[in-house]
């Protein structure tokens, strides 16, 4: 696994991955009163929007089960569906390029741009390009990338990672947006009016669209049957990025494929409802190849880059495969008690919340990502809303099991060592009721003695962490077992 991680990490010389700093960044973010306030409102508001939208289905549960079944089917037949998509897209005139990792993807795209003398590209919001660090790769080669999704545009100007996979800048205060637009987006006068801010971004980006030679976007769905790529958005910027420039580059990860249009349309309905609580997003565009000879509009050439980046590797494991069912709706983030307290930054890479906690460790390895899959209360709220049928808590449990199987005792720190020894003793006692009982009694006694419990509150370990915001459980005067024995004795004596 260590080797796997190293190999993966090597693929992203340009993206900063901070998964190992999860705890540290989370602690910082918990102190951010602005984003905490925002998340409080957001987490109450969004699940209701979603729920109301889902109720427009005659049977919401059935709709969810159907979308989950489609995604399960996709993952089961992934290699065949990808081949079919590739063939059909090629027949439509698209050039399909499969790449093994982020580095290769970036090289291919940079070369496409260079060969065409492209100075800058416009981009539609795309998580895979965040994953592979495409913007940084383009920049390093002297090619400017202009993010054209409003949220993504703001995070790019601020040079911040996405806060949410759907709303990357939704936590940024409007004052900050005004300031950064004045500094970096040619806005003349400060304003707190969202419409004016939107207008400023529009004016700035419209000019870029006008002269762009290449547009780069992601893909929401790739229909195997027809070779069509589908994008869902609310701002029209993706459509603009796909249709104004001569060259269109669509980047997708291999799990984006769906069998046919009928399945795609059902997923579309569920995706929009799960994502933003809309029955359908404002813009849905479908492209089957570049501009045909008899057509007036559209790109002259279309490249579809299919990025693997560790997915074929995780596909080999039948349990891990489930991660590829995700359709990136973000519903799991919006309902997660952890995400809705800490926001997206602590997750340290492109993907946050439960879907990120599932996907990131599988793509990067478990070495520097274990805080991700441990930062879960196992409440199962994510699993309940997931339209792709992913059982996130169960995946985390499976990760823990695998981690345990590979664990090396000498590599543990003191706290881990204490826990490890605790479990060894626990596992031994659990089948020995008398000793178990004795230990329970002694533990109860020990915790009730301040001379013992007070020092425990100061050294790093479970007691200290528990008493961070709670009192130590008040040890009862007797265990339940003692109570039962006393009760039986009293009844017998009578």
């Amino acid at each position: 696994m260590q080797r796997f991680y190293a190999a993966r990490a090597e693929g992203y010389p340009l993206v900063k991955i901070n998964t190992h700093r999860f705890k540290e960044i989370a602690k910082e973010e918990l102190k951010n009163t602005y984003s905490r306030g925002f998340l409080d409102i957001f987490s109450q508001f969004f699940p209701i929007l979603r729920k109301n939208a889902m109720e427009s289905f005659s049977d919401p549960q059935e709709a969810l089960e159907k979308s989950a079944a489609i995604r399960r089917d996709v993952v089961a037949r992934l290699p065949q569906l990808l081949d079919a998509f590739e063939n059909n897209a090629a027949n439509n005139g698209a050039k399909v390029i499969r790449v093994k990792d982020g580095r290769e993807a970036n090289t291919v795209i940079v070369n496409l741009a260079k060969k065409r003398g492209i100075q800058y590209v416009t981009k539609g919001k795309s998580m895979v390009t965040e994953e592979i660090g495409l913007n940084q790769a383009l920049q390093a080669n002297g090619i400017d990338a202009f993010e054209s999704d409003l949220g993504e545009f703001i995070t790019q100007l601020l040079d911040r990672p996405p806060f949410h996979i759907v709303g990357p800048a939704m936590n940024v205060p409007v004052e900050e947006i005004s300031d950064i637009f004045i500094q970096r987006a040619e806005m003349k006068t400060p304003t707190l009016d969202p419409v004016e801010l939107g207008h400023a971004a529009r004016v700035y980006l419209r000019n870029k669209f006008h002269h762009a030679g290449m547009g780069i976007t992601g893909v929401n769905m790739a229909v195997a049957d027809t070779g069509t790529i589908i994008n869902v958005e609310n701002e029209g910027n993706i459509r603009m990025s796909k249709s104004s420039p001569k060259t269109q580059v669509s980047v997708m990860t291999l799990e984006k494929v769906v069998p046919d249009m009928q399945d795609a349309l059902h997923l579309l309905r569920v995706l929009c409802r799960s994502c933003t609580g809309q029955k359908l997003a404002a813009y849905v565009s479908m492209d089957s190849g570049p501009k045909k000879t008899n057509e007036i509009d559209g790109p002259e050439e279309l490249f579809i880059i299919i990025v693997d980046n560790g997915r074929s590797e995780l596909y080999k494991d039948i349990q891990s495969r489930q991660a590829l069912q995700c359709i990136r709706c973000g519903a799991c983030l919006n309902t997660c008690p952890v995400y809705t307290k800490i926001g997206g930054y602590p997750y340290g890479w492109a993907y946050s919340g439960p879907m990120g906690q599932v996907l990131t460790p599988l793509l990067l390895g478990f070495e520097a990502t274990e805080d991700l899959f441990r930062a879960c209360t196992r409440c199962g709220a994510c699993r309940d809303v997931c339209p792709a049928g992913i059982d996130h808590p169960k995946m985390f449990q499976a990760f823990e099991t695998r981690r345990q199987e590979r664990k090396k005792i000498p590599g543990l720190n003191r706290e881990e060592m204490i826990i490890e020894m605790g479990f060894v003793i626990w596992g031994w006692l659990v089948t020995r009721p008398r000793l178990w009982e004795l230990t329970a009694r002694l533990t109860r006694k020990a915790l009730s003695l301040p001379a013992l419990s007070e020092p425990l509150k100061r050294i790093d370990g479970p007691v200290k962490h528990w008493t961070h915001s709670r009192t130590l459980p008040h040890p009862a005067s007797q265990t339940f077992r003692e109570h039962w024995k006393a009760l039986k004795k009293a009844e017998y004596d009578r």
Partner: protein, 241 residues
């Protein structure tokens, strides 16, 4: 008198024996004869959730050994019931005999309120308790065992208790076992919000039916809001006056 076997979670044995005592009282009040096997230890939930399979299997084997002859097993914790009913068969899938035994035991294992309402058809225990209360929906009960209406029905029928609505009642309390000690700051932020909703509801008692959540919420309340109280459902249902 029908005998029912008590499955008392280790958390209850050690820290919250009053929940076990209340469970006995309640079952006796309903005309049943609860028995407690003193050989029981822990169902293995902590080992299962942290991926310690071999230790979890030991716990599961022991549990099956202790409870295999019982007709009905009742437990005042949904997450422990979930472990037996759903985790055991998966955990023991390599041992067909044990796995089948686990599945059989699972069918006879019930969470307390589920047992009372769904099995016994009891809607009231004749308890009386003067308070304004809210109910917290514990995750495993609500999402995995489908328990929500049963405890609420029982609370509503306690004389003198008024059940008020609780905002985000179905959101986790932030306990999560190991999570609460691995990520104490995040856990605190979650429990803080839960308690804020409780306080905003103007109720004086927060009722729940999961010992883990109780440990968490009660510990937080004692430190930050000592005037407020969290109680297990079983304690409420055997209150008189």
């Amino acid at each position: 008198m029908q005998t029912v076997s008590l499955f008392i979670p280790c958390l209850v044995d050690l820290f919250l024996p009053r929940i076990g005592e209340a469970t006995i009282k309640l079952l006796r009040h309903l005309g049943l004869s609860p028995v407690y096997h003193e050989t029981q230890t822990c169902c293995g939930q902590p080992a299962i959730s942290t991926g310690r399979t071999s230790q979890a299997v030991r716990a599961a084997r022991h549990f099956i050994d202790v409870f295999k002859n019982d007709e009905i097993i009742v437990c005042p914790s949904g997450s422990c019931v979930y472990t037996v009913k759903y985790e055991y068969p998966e955990l023991l899938k390599n041992d067909p005999i044990l796995c089948r035994q686990a599945a059989e035991i699972g069918k006879r294992t019930f969470e307390l309120s589920q047992f009372m309402v769904d099995v016994l058809g009891v809607n009231t225990t004749g308890a009386s308790f003067h308070c304004q209360a809210v109910f917290h929906e514990s995750c495993k009960n609500l999402r995995r065992l489908g328990i929500s209406e049963q405890p609420k029905k029982l609370i509503e029928n306690v004389s003198g208790t008024m059940l008020l609505p609780l905002k985000e009642a179905d959101v986790c309390c932030g306990f999560g076992g190991a999570f609460s000690v691995q990520f104490p700051e995040i856990s605190e932020a979650i429990v803080e919000q839960k308690v804020r909703h409780f306080i905003d509801s103007e109720a004086d008692v927060l009722i729940l039916s999961e010992p883990g959540c109780l440990l968490n919420l009660d510990g937080y309340l004692k430190l930050k809001h000592p005037d407020k109280k969290a109680m297990h459902l079983a304690e409420v249902l055997c209150r008189t006056g």
